[in-house]
Symmetry: C2
Subunit: 291 residues, 2 copies
């Protein structure tokens, strides 16, 4: 059993009894109201010093990133972020000014996205930990899951991939508007955000949908100075990966944002064998094997 399989096994018994809910295994949990067309999205995420950022990093950006990661998961459902709680794990001997700057980063990003910061807790830890609880919603339309891609649907991605440590792992803009548009217009049939990298997150979406995929490697939108390998394996792109039915994909020309979108492949039935050249690129970044 790999470590990832072990961790998956911990929550494998957590099957929600409500068929309208989505539990373990998607970007967010989904709680649907009995009657209304509105869904509540729930996300919890933590960043840890030494794992997700270095002690020397700009504290404003550390705070920003902690919240932005969770927002990105709301974006991956097509939702709007609404309320956040922040749990701070504080090492002894902390520098007050640094902590204040971290909270400044959180507060500024929350303001930008109109998220209400409604509280949280503080506790002692050895390494600085920031744990975010974020509540979002899809109001009047359905959230987009990972598990609902269909055979022969096109695979698309926003923005560009790779070189994220240099370009944007601290400064990425969560794709909230883009995700909401894709969900509200019923364009995306499945969606995930690229936090671990295309090489991990695409197989994850395919597995959840019970499918395989075919990629056109020449179409992968590599970021400036990024190799194809980095575009697959570096992680922390926080772009959206989504599927679209071939009948609808022409409508993506009306995508009303500056953010680039690019078709990179097609979903295939489960038995489809991924090409060797793609397979080589699939071994992505696993945050649990880093330390």
């Amino acid at each position: 059993m790999t470590e990832e399989q072990f961790i998956e096994s911990l929550t494998s018994g957590w099957k929600t009894k409500n068929p309208k809910f989505v539990g373990v295994g998607d970007d967010c949990a989904v709680v649907r109201g009995e009657a209304s067309g509105s869904s509540l999205l729930l996300k919890a995420d933590a960043v840890v010093e030494g794992v997700h950022f270095l002690r020397t990093a700009d504290p404003v950006l550390i705070g920003r990133k902690a919240l932005a990661r969770a927002i990105s998961d709301i974006a991956a459902m097509g939702g709007t972020p609404l309320y956040a709680l922040v749990t701070l794990g504080l090492p002894s001997g902390f520098q007050p000014v640094r902590i204040q700057k971290i909270y400044k980063g959180i507060t500024a990003l929350a303001k930008q996205w109109n998220i209400e910061l409604l509280g949280g807790e503080t506790t002692r830890t050895r390494d600085l930990v920031l744990s975010i609880s974020l509540v979002g919603e899809c109001s009047g339309y359905a959230p987009v899951l990972r598990s609902t891609a269909k055979e022969e649907e096109e695979i698309w991605v926003t923005g560009s991939l790779g070189n994220t440590q240099k370009l944007k792992h601290f400064t990425f803009e969560p794709r909230i508007k883009e995700g909401k548009w894709l969900a509200e217009k019923e364009m995306a049939t499945s969606m995930i955000d690229l936090s671990d990298g295309l090489g991990i997150d695409l197989p994850r979406l395919a597995r959840a949908s019970g499918l395989s995929f075919e990629l056109s490697l020449d179409l992968i939108p590599c970021a400036r100075e990024a190799t194809l390998k980095q575009a697959f394996q570096e992680g922390e792109d926080y772009e959206l990966l989504f599927t679209v039915s071939p009948e609808k994909s022409a409508l993506l020309k009306k995508f009303p944002f500056e953010t680039a979108i690019q078709k990179i492949g097609v979903m295939k039935k489960k038995a489809f064998k991924v090409s060797e050249s793609v397979k080589e690129l699939l071994h992505g970044y696993d945050h649990l094997q880093k330390r």
Copy 2:
């Protein structure tokens, strides 16, 4: 500035713009719907190895406690817990069996209270961290805040206080049913759960309500083998402290639970001077000054 004041200062700018919401400063955040009589309660809480439990503790009880603490905060609003997310910070070299037992403890308590476990994340940390995001509700009645006690209202407490390290810090039953009854019947005018101890949490409630208090020390329900000092200062009682108007308190005779309840004092106007004998007992347990 003390450390507690510093930490309070971090979130002091987080004022919710919605007058129907409750943000920083209560047991839970409260999000009220525009029309319905239903409120959503949001709670985030974390336990850390070496702070909240020792490495040698029974892992099933560690998991249980992580969730029970958050449930207790929902109880303190008079709410019902509904959905939880669990974020696990995993040290390298962890023992798989121990982690499985921790999840067993979480899962069993969630089942007992009919809480849906809807997911979470896993990350690397140096010390084991369990961070719980819990969503609850008050359906058809208002949540009970800390800040709404009035002068001359009676101060009551559930159960018994002190000797918690021996008796119940791992095994306490969150006072969900009791809290819900007190809220639904509009008995409690303010409420808080005793996590840091009467000596900290009563002043906290009084401060939030802009009041002072008078206690009858001979009425404090000390637990078996607990000194009065422990009853005030040990913390982790997870009992409910609540206020009741003198007109209504006779109705507490109909309190339909086995849990004992006891009147211990009266809320007084802010200028009221707490007696010296009480003041000596007020210096409670501060989890941030432990390490």
